[in-house]
């Protein structure tokens, strides 16, 4: 515990370390930047544990089943902000059965009971019901921030409860949720006296919204900084709203589309020119390119541009992005093509994060000219680029090697070559060498997704070199058990591993069972696992929960199956809460 001698004076003058009051330690801990640092401090001795847990204000539960809600409330009684994540990442792509679990209700109920002073609640990939929202609205008198990301299970009725019940609400942030539209005008339920809103994001809502009510809300909330609209707001109304909220910093335009009319163009242009603080822009732009120049006045100030739902293409798009010289974040569709990325490379030198999404992921005939060339250009000219998500149809080892050499500062590199097993299109070799270059060069890499034709060799490199890697996604890769073994026996910092359609079997899993307890979770689907291995793993590692999903057998009880039965999917995670009791029929805990 000693931090080296402070004073050489005898013990009588200053109180010994262990007699310092808790408040001193609480104050000291408030400077620790990361929860993991606080956790480490708490683990060193009882008094620090006591001080740390009582002063913890923010809690992030990365796996809602790793601990029970009551555990969390008991350990951290003074929490003001909680974030809970539920379903595994692959739920985003339909690989997790719909009724899998991740109900927010137990967390909401425990919070209502144990954290009455709670101010912020954030759920990701969980099932949040209208009841949950009603409880939230009724239980926390100083509730300020509600953030729901990729959740489902609630409707506009629940939103009404939030609007009418949360007097001090600052942020209502709904990102990519499935919200049922009950045709309840929930926006109307914000009282006239309500003016505290800073963030309003309802971009994922499908239904109509009363524009007049929205206008009044925007007008009276003078601190509104983030406004993200849904598709129901037409362009001319957007212009009106902007005039009421010129202080806006982040804007989501919703559906930016209309036939071109000069007067509407001028109206928009004028409205945007009043938004001097606008820094972040997003929206589902089916825009006629003729409207893009209306934004030119804000381009210079933009630091973040999310056009990943925009079907705009062509020279107008490129001209627009080329004016955004201060961009730090750019999300686009592959409609930007290589030539657009070349412009990004030359114009946006402050770029830190680039994501390029596929416009026609299932239609191989719809070819867009986006290749490895675009990524090479951007990596060469954007010195601050550290995070990439790139969907494309072809790649070469040479390109990857060049990218690795250009950008050793990558922290996140996710490459998705759309067709599985695609080799280097020039040499027809696997892309092992390319990805190895990435992990060898990018010493700070924390997240990696690999794709294309890959053998076990790439995993040898990853296991050996990717010391800081925390999350790894693998699909249609590897040739044998060795691949998985390299990963699990290496990758010192690995927290999340998700694998699909790889020829990995029981042996490396069992040989590296202990590793799994150092990780948050492991997902393996369509690999070569058997039930026997799952049983052994569960027996060997009591603090892991081994969930098995067998789709074709439905509710068939595991007990009746032999050890040799193949398993389609396993999801393994460490937990102190024991096996959960809310599994659907096709999910069984071994």
């Amino acid at each position: 515990m000693g931090r080296g001698g402070s004073r050489a004076s005898p013990a009588a003058a200053a109180p010994p370390w262990h007699a310092l009051p808790d408040e001193v330690w609480e104050h000291a801990f408030s400077f620790l930047p990361a929860d993991s640092d606080r956790g480490a401090a708490a683990a060193s001795c009882r008094s620090w544990l006591r001080a740390e847990r009582r002063s913890r204000r923010r809690l992030a539960v990365a796996n809602c089943y790793a601990a029970s809600p009551q555990d969390a409330v008991d350990r951290f009684p003074s929490v003001r902000a909680v974030e809970v994540k539920g379903k595994p990442h692959f739920a985003d792509f339909g690989l997790v059965p719909p009724a899998w679990g991740a109900a927010a209700a137990p967390w909401v109920e425990a919070a209502a009971d144990g954290w009455p002073l709670l101010e912020e609640l954030s759920f990701k990939r969980m099932v949040v019901t209208d009841d949950c929202l009603e409880i939230i609205a009724a239980s926390f008198r100083n509730f300020q921030v509600l953030r729901l990301v990729s959740c489902e299970g609630f409707s506009t009725a629940g939103l009404s409860a939030i609007a009418s019940g949360c007097r001090n609400l600052r942020e209502l942030d709904l990102q990519e949720n499935e919200i049922e539209d009950c045709s309840i005008q929930w926006l109307n339920l914000f009282p006239e006296s309500f003016t505290s809103l800073v963030t309003l994001n309802f971009s994922c809502l499908e239904g109509d919204v009363n524009i007049t009510v929205l206008d009044r809300l925007v007008t009276r909330c003078h601190n509104l900084k983030t406004l993200k609209l849904n598709n129901a707001i037409p362009l001319d109304k957007l212009a009106n709203l902007l005039r009421k909220a010129p202080q806006i910093v982040e804007l989501g335009t919703g559906k930016f589309s209309a036939d071109y009319h000069l007067d509407l163009f001028l109206k928009l242009e004028s409205a945007f020119s009043g938004c001097k603080s606008l820094r972040r822009l997003s929206g589902a732009w089916d825009a006629v390119p003729e409207y893009l120049p209306a934004f030119y006045c804000v381009c210079e100030g933009l630091t973040s541009l999310n056009l990943s739902y925009a079907t705009v293409r062509g020279p107008e798009l490129i001209k627009f992005i080329g004016r955004c010289k201060n961009l730090q974040l750019l999300w686009v569709m592959d409609l930007i093509e290589d030539r657009g990325l070349a412009v990004v490379a030359s114009s946006c030198n402050k770029l830190q994060e680039l994501r390029v999404f596929p416009s026609a992921p299932f239609d191989a005939a719809e070819q867009v000219s986006l290749t490895e060339r675009g990524l090479v250009d951007v990596s060469a000219s954007c010195p601050m680029l550290e995070s990439v998500l790139y969907f494309c149809r072809r790649m070469t080892n040479e390109a990857l090697i060049t990218i690795a050499k250009n950008r050793p500062n990558f922290t996140c590199f996710r490459l998705c070559i759309l067709e599985p097993h695609t080799p280097d299109y020039i040499t027809h070799q696997p892309l092992d060498v390319g990805f190895s270059a990435i992990v060898e060069s990018c010493k700070g890499l924390r997240r990696l997704s690999v794709s294309g034709l890959l053998t076990d060799n790439v995993f040898k490199s990853i296991g050996a070199h990717a010391d800081r890697l925390e999350m790894l996604s693998i699909a249609f890769a590897g040739n044998s058990d060795l691949g998985l073994h390299y990963i699990l026996s290496g990758c010192k910092s690995l927290k999340k591993l998700e694998i699909r359609d790889c020829p990995f079997g029981d042996k490396p899993l069992l040989a590296n069972a202990a590793k799994l307890e150092t990780m948050r979770s492991l997902w393996m689907s369509s690999c070569s696992l058997t039930l026997g291995a799952c049983r052994q793993l569960a027996r060997k590692m009591p603090r892991l929960s081994v969930e098995v999903m067998n789709y074709s057998r439905g509710a068939c009880p595991l007990d009746s199956l032999t050890d040799e039965s193949p398993i389609e999917t396993i999801y393994v995670y460490r937990t102190i809460a024991g096996p959960r009791s809310d599994t659907p029929a096709c999910v069984q805990i071994v």
């Binding site: 209700a105 739902y309 079907t311 096709c586």
Partner: protein
Amino acid sequence: MEIDADNLSATELRLGLPGTSSGDDGCWQKKPSQPGVGGTKRALDDTRSEASGTSPAAAAAAGDDDHDATAPAKAQVVGWPPVRAYRKNTFQAAAAAAKKAEPPQQQGGGGGLYVKVSMDGAPYLRKVDLRMYKGYRELRDALDALFTKSSAGAAADGGDQQQHAVAYEDKDGDLMLVGDVPWDMFVSSCKKLRIMKGSEAR
């Protein structure tokens, strides 16, 4: 838990290729009752899971008409490429809306969309069917093929081809450069094509 036999098989998400037998996919079928969720939510979920196209069966059932290739040559693998269902929904919806928004103003109703093509210096005009092409590249290739023979004299120095700009007259009568707007929008608004010499086009 009971498995509701009335559940439609079209809402099943499967790992298998289309046409393989389903087996007892109990867990993938929507359960009739779920704590805290009303009956209407079920129906909505079913349509959503159909529209998200994460399974071959569901995609066919939803009748995707926004891709020209409604029955792709390869079977779709569930959950690949790793694109969020939310993203797929919105892009497909946008593409579908764009197609539906095309005003049915084509000449010769229903089938082809023939427009005149004039080239500066060429003795006579041609006609092309815009619906024959999937995009600008194909159109350009076709125009090259149509006009290389007649302008053989003018294109003596080989590099001349690239200096031609293709413009079109839209429904407002304005002369526009081909290539700015999405293809579908171009097809619906193009009335005439004109191939101009490079010097004029700038």
